[in-house]
Amino acid sequence: MGGRTVTKKTREKHAMMLRYVILTGAAFVAVFPYFWIFLSSIKPPGEMMSIPPKVIFTPTAENYTAILGHGFLEALQNSLFLSIVSASIGVSLSCMAAYGLTRFKFRGRETLSFSFFAIRFVPFITLLLPLYTIMGSLGLLNSMFGLIVAYQLSHIPWMTWLMRSFFLEIPFTYEDAGMVDGLTRWGVFFRIAVPMVAPAIGSALLLGIIFAWNQYFIPLILGGFDTSPLTVGLYRYVGGDESPMLFGRLAAWGTLTVTPVILLSIVVRKHLVRAFAGSDV
């Protein structure tokens, strides 16, 4: 009997070791490219492409200083502005819509809720081509305003669905009590409902910022030279066919583009599942 438990224990120990080996391997594969991009960004140009790859070298900030003169700062500004403003607007509108969808009964409510969810599946290109013409005729191409409005097509659907799932979780009783105490609907919304889902609002906002930051398709079509965020700016700088081999610059720009998002994603990890899935799966 004693012998059996020992073998069972060692077997379990081996299984656990195997699990960690698998996970470490997977984590290495997941992280290595990021690490490699960063390493390439501080390599001196001469050693950038040597084979076998050099791991020991004197780091240089050359690539970072070089991109500053090629529109990096302007693109960074655009990215910050576009992602923060568009996500804030998206969260505000979605929060109100989600409240309306969960606190009032009306005909077609479930269908409407579902439509918010279904919009996520419309291909972007289907919307962006007509938007290009529509915004063009309104003079909104290559404008921050136009882009912020267009970004809502990726924000509002998942944000509303997410906030809806949070509003469904909090009991109505507090709000009813507020109504009895003489608050208006808006008073109840701002003073009771919103504070109760504040953490969720925070996560939705941060995730909205991440998604907007990574957005490429919308600004590629509707934006222009002055309104390019980091993603489009990087493509214009190094991605075109006629661009020279600016590998180090690409690595530096790429590192600075993805690092803030990786840090933010650790902050919002808790709500990441719900946001990606759009509901509590």
């Binding site: 997977a26 594969v29 009306f106 291909p123 919307l127 007509p130 809502q152 469904l168 990606f276």
Partner: protein, 310 residues
């Protein structure tokens, strides 16, 4: 009577004020563009001569279905979606099963595994093109050379280019299935598993007879989101191969983009966009129908996406 009517009206107005802002914006950026795209798809209309547009009925759709480049893009899209969706879910699910069993360091391992998904696709595409898939300087061919294989020039031949974008997309998207399925796994009740073990079930049997059926809703949900993302994918492929070499990696969204924004055939491109939307709609419809069917056949499995729908 009058008073309650007024109250009813006021309540109606309240709903409208909460919903209107979001709906107005969605009308501008989603519904109106769809209507406009459908309308424009019936015209022969080019950006090179904006003022001249002639109504040609369904001709754009007929043209599309008779254009080899379009049919090829459809084939590539289906191949790419099939090659990416299922393996990325399988990989994510396998890792979720392993991650679910460990305790120490779980949070940090999970954070590390999520990194591919959080990186901007453009950065991923561009950096992999140069630092990984390049035939001379790329890490992949270097590693292959260590074991005596001389790697192909990945992105300059059709089949290897398709293989490359599929591998990269799996790398980018396996964290999504991992994240969702791991969360679902950690919420599964313990008793069924304990009972099965007492009855002498092997882990393999437990997995197929208990885990899989209990995870049906999240699995189908992940499948729905993954296949739709792959089907309309643009970013990574656009920056990595531009649809090339030739048309080997030209997905439908890239073909539509090139027809509209490079060849300026807006009427035709809008028709392509509408076709994409319809095909994706059919795919979603089939999957959702399947979900609802499952849901009705076993209500006890609850939870998940449809939990709060009646």
């Amino acid at each position: 009577m009058e008073k309650s009517r007024l109250a009813y009206f006021k309540k109606r107005l309240m709903v409208v004020t909460f919903l209107a802002p979001a709906l107005i914006v969605l009308f501008i950026v989603v519904f109106y563009p769809i209507i406009y795209a459908v309308y424009r798809s019936f015209f022969n209309w080019s950006l090179l001569s904006v003022d001249q547009s002639t109504f040609i009925g369904l001709q754009n759709y007929i043209t599309a279905l008779n254009t080899p480049a379009f049919l090829e893009s459809m084939r590539v899209t289906l191949l790419y979606s099939a090659g990416t969706t299922v393996p990325s879910i399988a990989l994510g699910f396998a890792l979720a099963l392993v991650l679910n069993k460990v305790k120490k360091g779980k949070a940090i391992i999970r954070s590390m595994l999520l990194i591919p998904m959080m990186m901007a696709p453009v950065v991923v595409g561009l950096t992999w093109r140069v630092f990984f898939f390049d035939s001379y300087f790329g890490i992949i061919n270097y590693v292959l050379s260590l074991v005596g294989i001389s790697g192909p020039s990945w992105l300059s031949q059709g089949p290897t280019a398709v293989f490359a974008i599929i591998i990269l997309s799996i790398w980018v998207w396996f964290p999504f299935s991992l994240l969702v399925l791991e969360a679902a796994l950690s919420k599964l009740p313990k008793p069924p598993f304990e009972a099965a073990v007492i009855d002498g079930a092997t882990p393999w049997q437990c997995f197929w007879k208990i885990t899989i059926p209990m995870l049906q809703s999240p699995l189908i949900f992940v499948f729905l989101l993954r296949i739709t993302t792959d089907f309309r994918n643009f970013d990574i492929v656009h920056v990595m191969t531009m649809g090339g070499p030739g048309r080997a990696t030209q997905l439908m969204s890239l073909y539509t983009f090139f027809q509209g924004m490079r060849a300026y055939r807006l009427g035709y491109a809008n028709a392509l966009g509408v076709i994409m939307m319809i095909v994706l709609g059919i795919i979603c419809f089939v999957i959702v129908r399947f979900v609802f069917k499952e849901k009705h056949s076993d209500k006890s499995q609850g939870g998940g996406l449809w939990a709060d729908e009646q």
